[in-house]
Symmetry: C2
């Protein structure tokens, strides 16, 4: 059956960068069908669900999703839950790949690392309660999820001929983070050639600022992965270039790390590069089309290196100009 992609633009600049990425994909892989679906704050206000059932059904049917960005309410709103977190869990995309490497000569040339973030549990399970004066949240870590993400991280690290660093805080959380560490270690033993080490999350944060070039692949529980991947993105042009892939056994969601940026939405200056790079991750790791992925990566690299850059990168190109240039570069490759 033909491949298809569920396209969720979301809110804000998601509605600019996602259509841009669809144009690029149409050039690269005209065989892939695209089906639009809605999610986000705007959707919630209209239909009362941030991730409507119909969207979830489409995402499941396609298996592959391109997710832009969604706005969230600044204060607690009953019934609202982050649709991307819900989608990650519903599609069981258990590993979130967040590469940090220089693109188009932007960022530190010596940094090439990959953060593999556990994507289904930890404090993200949404189990919280409060009596108004005392609130509690559950941080849940399971052997199953930890081993699973450990296998993904170990396989990718081994594929790079590299080193895997387990991030945890087991000195304070011996049972939960200790289970994460031990499960990843057990999973990684399937790749005996791998160099394995570990690092406390606070130390990892410091080292990622001081010596990001010392890291290769990091694997972390959900929340630490969230924090460290934003931090590390600083070395490679910031969020405008930060790509991610939520990867599961059956499904995958390509998702730029940036948010919906309401302050610049609608002005045509959003940077689509992170979304393009996320699509490249989807092509490589989900559809196993390394050739298209490499062509797309090369096109992004080429366009940025030429100085065709949006204002967040110090350039004066529009989203449209970057998109057209990447489409052209893809066709020429």
């Amino acid at each position: 059956s033909p491949l298809s992609l569920c396209v969720i633009a979301g809110d804000g600049i998601g509605r600019e960068v996602v259509p841009a990425a669809c144009r690029v994909l149409a050039r690269l892989r005209p065989d892939i069908g695209m089906i639009e679906a809605e999610a986000g704050w705007d959707t919630f206000q209209r239909v009362g669900q941030a991730l409507p059932d119909a969207t979830l059904a489409t995402a499941r049917a396609c298996g592959a999703v391109l997710f832009g960005a969604v706005s969230s309410p600044s204060h607690r709103v009953d019934g609202y839950r982050s649709p991307i977190v819900a989608l990650r869990r519903a599609l069981d995309t258990h590993a979130n790949l967040r590469p940090v490497r220089p693109l188009g000569g932007i960022g530190r040339p010596d940094v090439d690392l990959l953060i593999v973030r556990e994507n289904t549990e930890d404090l993200y399970i949404g189990e919280e309660r409060s009596d108004g004066d005392t609130a509690e949240a559950i941080k849940r870590i399971t052997r199953h999820a930890s081993e699973r993400v450990g296998r993904v991280a170990a396989r990718l690290a081994a594929g790079r001929g590299g080193r895997l660093t387990i991030v945890h805080k087991a000195n304070i959380l011996p049972l939960t983070d200790g289970l994460f560490r031990d499960s990843v270690r057990a999973a990684a033993s399937g790749w005996p050639a791998l160099t394995l080490d570990e690092c406390l999350v606070d130390t990892a944060a410091l080292r990622l600022v001081q010596h990001p070039e010392h890291f290769d692949v990091l694997v972390a529980p959900n929340l630490y992965g969230d924090i460290l991947s934003d931090l590390a993105a600083a070395h490679a042009g910031g969020l405008g270039l930060a790509a991610s892939l939520n990867l599961g056994e059956q499904c995958a969601i390509a998702e730029p790390v940036h948010g919906s940026a309401p302050d610049i939405a609608g002005r045509g200056i959003a940077n689509p590069a992170a979304t393009f790079a996320s699509l490249a991750l989807l092509l490589r790791h989900h559809w196993r089309d390394a050739d298209s992925a490499s062509r797309l990566d090369a096109a992004i690299d080429h366009v940025l290196a030429q100085g065709i850059r949006t204002p967040d990168l110090g350039g004066d190109a529009s989203c449209e100009q970057v998109t057209r240039a990447v489409c052209d570069a893809v066709l020429a490759s």
Copy 2:
């Protein structure tokens, strides 16, 4: 009654930097008595308690503690709990002050920020359970502790004529981190001149790498404060210079942020500067001796600026040489 300091060297380089700081204090404030007490991994192995009752009693009696660093077992050991975490809770030192600013010309000259970390709850309460395959930890946030740390942060920010940024992840944890945010906001309303804003923890990590100079005072729940303060220390010479003060209503614990560094322990090259700077925080905020605190800060600054630096800062001075130079500079001031 005369002031006294409970001195806990701990393990590893704690046994080098703490005696060094005691010599400096004796020059500055010969009136302050010092009482040694033990804690740490070595203590645990000898007496079965990482924080013996006698140590806790001495700490309580003195009200002021100088804590070096302790080693922790690399794997879970029954009955072992981090003595510094236990001490913070036992003495109810509810705010952990972690300033990041250039010392002796080391680090970014434009950065001068203060992280105020909640110090008694969050995931640090040690409530964990596991059935071997699923482990859970409780993250607890209370209005009481959040307001309390909010008041400290707001007071310090107002004293700097500054801005207070609340760090949280309320988009994922609306009840717990939402309570933290709302409580700090409520507490800060007592300082109406203060500029108040907020930032998601992942975004804060990114901005602290990219634009640390944009921050003034940050207030964060315990774990985020732990991660962000290590991260931010990278801008000011790393852990060798990172000072902290655990501050409560009755008690305070001066504590360098670095660990016990077993790899360099016993070689005489440990950097005592962070411990000196922590002592300065104790003098200023607990004993309210701004004069001695400023003299000590100036002495550290002067010695480092002269190039009398330990190897972690690229110098070749020993702990002894730095200590002697700071003692001399204090006397000359």
